[in-house]
């Protein structure tokens, strides 16, 4: 029974990595375990004829046991990838779940029907035991020791995958796939990696079990077995490896094996087994109902800002090394507290209309420069230039034809140019031949009435929506064919109109996930161990804390993002985009629904970012904000560009007024 525990545990850990951590509901997982067992059998068995010829199978390589186990595990990793390919097309979760279930049921059918390959429903027997040399009387205990050792090793390796940057990005993908793509994560690649690793665990589990039993029967691997593993994970705790251990002890071992010890009813010997499954089903339902997080829930790492109480509802924050801030929630409050010189100014000094004035926030919000985020280095010159935007440097475009719409700005090349973009939804032309450019190191506004196609343009530029026609050139490179995550890595990072935080991750984790090029984020990197990514991680955490202070959210660092307020989530959305190292930041109505104080803080941050050289494309309905921030404003209506120029001029133009009045 301890062997069962061990092999179930390996399988459950693998599935937990896929389902609990990465959110891939792999209902076909048990097929991989079965494949592992089968492969072990055919690798260790001799050629069919030499074994008496009573069963048919392939290969028959009579390999050494250890080699067979390793091969089985590796091939299952490959198979796991193959199953993962169904997710390549970014199928919706419902389709994926269905395909997985169908694969699982089908595998049993094929195996049962195909005698040449799998010996049909009879299965395989006489599989050599890995411990053939050991005295059979003690073999059981030796086997337990072997399985135990494999489990221990498996646990240590697994911990590397589930904790650390790799596990974090997997959780992010689980929480919100699109948001993960928006910060440049290769979701498909990550899923494949996870399913490969999960497959290896499945193969290992199957091979060890087949070696122990000495037989292989397709009926032992029906799709319901996947539910047993899922139940174990749900009972123990989704995403928590220690919880899964507990779950496996309770579910497959205590219940499914335990029912065998109930008094047998002679007339119906299979009744106990049925009862086991019924209990298991009830247990699953009960847990999903009453305690969906399991007995031992996923842990919440504490990475928060030192000296700041981590929990929400805590007393007002006091920032390290600064003056006490009485009104931390108010714009500028905590940030100014960092620089006592400025803190003497009243909070109202953060007056958005005042260009270049308040020089908000001591720290540079310069992404990718972690050391600066602490609040010391302030980019002097550019910060002011961004706010001031002297009209002299700007030669507003005249005319409304597409050719004349490109703003010509002295000495500054466009970072983004969009040419003849078309996107249709059914018969509706959401974007109909839009052409415009966004300048490097400035804020370009994109305005227009509802339904003008602004959000679609953002989707097209960021790669979330495929264009039907048109070119998108970013920094001299045509990016129209690149997938969204690749564009994000190039520096086109978007935010979403409705905040899409990674709910179960803490605020600071949300930021850490977004950082590009983390060494601990690939399966290989994380397998190498902590030493590889530890320093990266510390630097990133410092950068993230700096950003949190800047936006006045230091006290919420360790709060789960799902529990933040609406305004905080919006701030988080922007901060996360900044952590991704954008060169062109696409903001989709960042001010909507934001309290004035927060809106001011965000506006100030935008101005400062532009001053530091970042390019921003801002979609916004709040025209006052657009007027204050944007040098150039592009107006859209009904999918077309109708005008471009400075906001003040646009207000006087008839076509713009018409578009807003008529809609």
């Amino acid at each position: 029974m301890l062997v069962y525990l061990g092999t179930d545990l390996l399988a459950a850990w693998g599935l937990n990595l896929e389902f609990g951590v990465a959110g891939v509901a792999n209902f076909a997982y048990i097929v991989l375990v079965a494949a592992g067992a089968y492969l072990y059998a055919v690798f260790t068995l001799g050629p069919p004829a030499a074994m008496g010829g009573f069963q048919q199978y392939i290969i028959g390589a009579r390999l050494p046991v250890a080699v067979a186990v390793a091969l089985a595990a590796l091939i299952c990793g490959g198979l796991g990838c193959l199953i993962g390919v169904t997710g390549l097309k970014r199928l919706r979760a419902d389709y994926q779940a269905m395909v997985m279930l169908v694969i699982s049921i089908l595998a049993t059918t094929i195996i049962g029907a195909d005698t040449a390959l799998f010996n049909g429903n009879a299965g395989l027997s006489l599989i050599p035991s890995p411990l053939a040399s050991v005295d059979p009387a003690h073999r059981g205990w030796y086997y337990v020791a072997v399985v135990g050792a494999v489990c221990a090793a498996g646990y240590l390796v697994l911990c590397r995958f589930t904790t650390g940057p790799f596990g974090r990005v997997l959780r992010a993908v689980r929480e919100d796939e699109d948001a993960a793509i928006a910060v440049g994560k290769n979701v498909v690649g990550l899923r494949l990696a996870v399913q490969a690793v999960g497959g290896v665990y499945a193969g290992l589990s199957g091979a060890l079990l087949a070696g122990f039993i000495g037989g292989w029967s397709p009926s032992a691997w029906e799709y319901v077995e996947t539910l047993a593993l899922l139940t174990a994970i749900i009972v123990g705790g989704l995403g928590n490896d220690a919880g899964v251990l507990l779950g496996v002890v309770i579910v497959p071992v205590l219940i499914l094996q335990g029912v065998q010890f109930l008094p047998q009813i002679k007339s119906a010997p299979q009744l106990a087994g049925d009862l086991g499954w019924i209990i298991l089903g009830l247990l699953t339902i009960a847990f999903v109902f009453a305690r969906p997080q399991g007995l031992i829930p996923e842990r919440r790492p504490r990475l928060g800002v030192p000296g700041v109480p981590a929990d929400a509802g805590a007393p007002p924050a006091r920032l390290p090394g600064g003056a006490e801030s009485d009104v931390p929630a108010q714009a500028g409050g905590p940030v100014q507290a960092e620089r006592p010189v400025q803190a003497e100014r009243p909070a109202q000094a953060v007056e958005p209309a005042q260009p270049g004035g308040p020089a908000q926030a001591g720290g540079a919000a310069q992404p990718g420069g972690p050391a600066q985020a602490g609040g010391a280095a302030r980019p002097g010159g550019p910060a002011q230039a961004g706010g001031a935007a002297p009209a002299g440097t700007l030669a507003p475009a005249v005319g409304t034809g597409p050719a004349g719409l490109a703003p010509i700005i002295a000495g500054r090349p466009p970072i983004l140019s969009v040419d003849g973009l078309v996107r249709r939804y059914g018969g509706v032309r959401a974007v109909d031949g839009a052409s415009f450019t966004a300048v490097a190191g400035g804020i370009t506004g994109l305005i227009g009435p509802n339904g003008a196609g602004k959000s679609t343009v953002l989707g097209l530029v960021s790669g979330f929506v495929r264009p039907d026609a048109g070119r998108i050139t970013f920094d001299g490179r045509d990016v129209a064919a690149l997938p969204a995550h690749r564009r994000a890595r190039l520096g086109i990072v978007r935010t979403f109109q409705l905040p899409r935080e990674f709910r179960a991750l803490t605020t600071i984790e949300n930021l850490l996930v977004a950082a590009p090029g983390q060494r601990g984020e690939s399966a290989a990197g994380v397998a190498a161990g902590r030493w590889l990514w530890r320093r990266d991680e510390d630097e990133l955490a410092e950068a993230a804390r700096g950003l949190l202070r800047l936006f006045g959210m230091a006290e919420a660092a360790d709060e789960r993002a799902g529990r933040l307020s609406g305004g905080q989530k919006r701030m988080l959305e922007v901060m996360r985009a900044l952590m991704a190292g954008p060169r062109l930041l696409l903001l989709d109505e960042p001010m909507a629904g934001l309290a004035p104080a927060l809106a001011e803080r965000l506006e100030a941050a935008c101005r400062q970012l532009a001053g530091a050289g970042m390019s921003i494309l801002l979609v916004e309905h709040e025209l006052g904000v657009v007027e204050r921030l944007c040098e150039t404003v592009v107006v859209m209506a009904q999918g077309k560009l109708i005008s471009t120029g400075r906001m003040a001029e646009l207000r006087t133009r008839k076509e713009v007024q018409d578009a807003y009045v008529v809609g």
């Binding site: 959110g23 509901a25 209902f27 169904t86 097309k89 199928l91 979760a93 419902d94 389709y95 779940a97 269905m98 395909v99 279930l101 169908v102 694969i103 049921i105 089908l106 059918t109 094929i110 029907a113 195909d114 699109d178 799709y223 319901v224 539910l227 899922l230 139940t231 749900i234 119906a268 299979q270 009744l271 049925d274 009862l275 499954w277 019924i278 298991l280 089903g281 009830l282 699953t284 339902i285 999903v288 109902f289 969906p292 249709r424 939804y425 059914g426 509706v428 959401a430 959000s455 679609t456 989707g459 979330f464 929506v465 979403f496 109109q497 409705l498 899409r500």
Partner: protein, 296 residues
Amino acid sequence: MSVFIEAVGFGIAAGAVIALGAVGFTVQFGISNVLNITYGALMTLAAYLGYALLGVGVAVWAALAVAAAGIALASAGLNRLLIAPLRRRGTGFVGVVIVTVAAGIIIQYCIVAIAGPDTVSYGQQAGSTVRAAGLVLTTSQLIIIGLTVAAMLALHLLLTRTQLGRAMRATSANPVVARSCGIRTERIIDVTWLISGALCGAAGVALAITTVTFDFTLGPIFLIYRIAAAVLGGIGQPYGAMLGGLVVGVGTQVAAAYTSPAYQDVYAFGLLILMLLIRPRGLLAAGTASARRLAG
């Protein structure tokens, strides 16, 4: 050629059963947004219910009607007692799927515990055969085809001609807006589960009639066909599922007639995968579905 025509005839009969099951499944999914894996177990339950009724001397078509009514109630009960409360708690899509898998397994093993693991048969005579245009069909196959056509027609009229149908489609399109328009969406979803349960029950008994012998794995095996048909037609779209059922039925029967019947399931699966790869939104899909991505 006659092999082909005969296979087509069998395909149409099989397709009728598949369509019956697939339409119920897809309507349920489309309107309540629940991927209900229990559906297969309920079909098995219907088949066994029919078996039990035949055992006490009920005529086979009456048994079908009773089973349909019984499963309709069971289906609505499942929604009321299990699925709706879960969704009120905000359980995610996959969480609900897992619960339906669990509920399906409970039902399946309850059936085994009561009826035993052996295969059973309705023991019906196939009845006289009818030949028309080279097609050879038994009367029971003809009745099932007729039943399916009638059910599809009734569903069509319900969805397009009645206030209830309009409310169902509104709930499918956007439950939140539907609710704020005064549609009692919970009631609509109850009705949906009732209707899809009736189709499920009818399909279960019809399947048991056409497959001659069956055991407790009837529902899960049929799942492949049902899902293939639903996906073929674009999941959530009843007319698509009708067409999909026919295509899957004829396609697998013809393919099986020329190769080996053992791989019939594999053909259905192949069709499913092919469909997902080339046209994941189904045969009848319009471009509008992709508009959902717009909001991001």
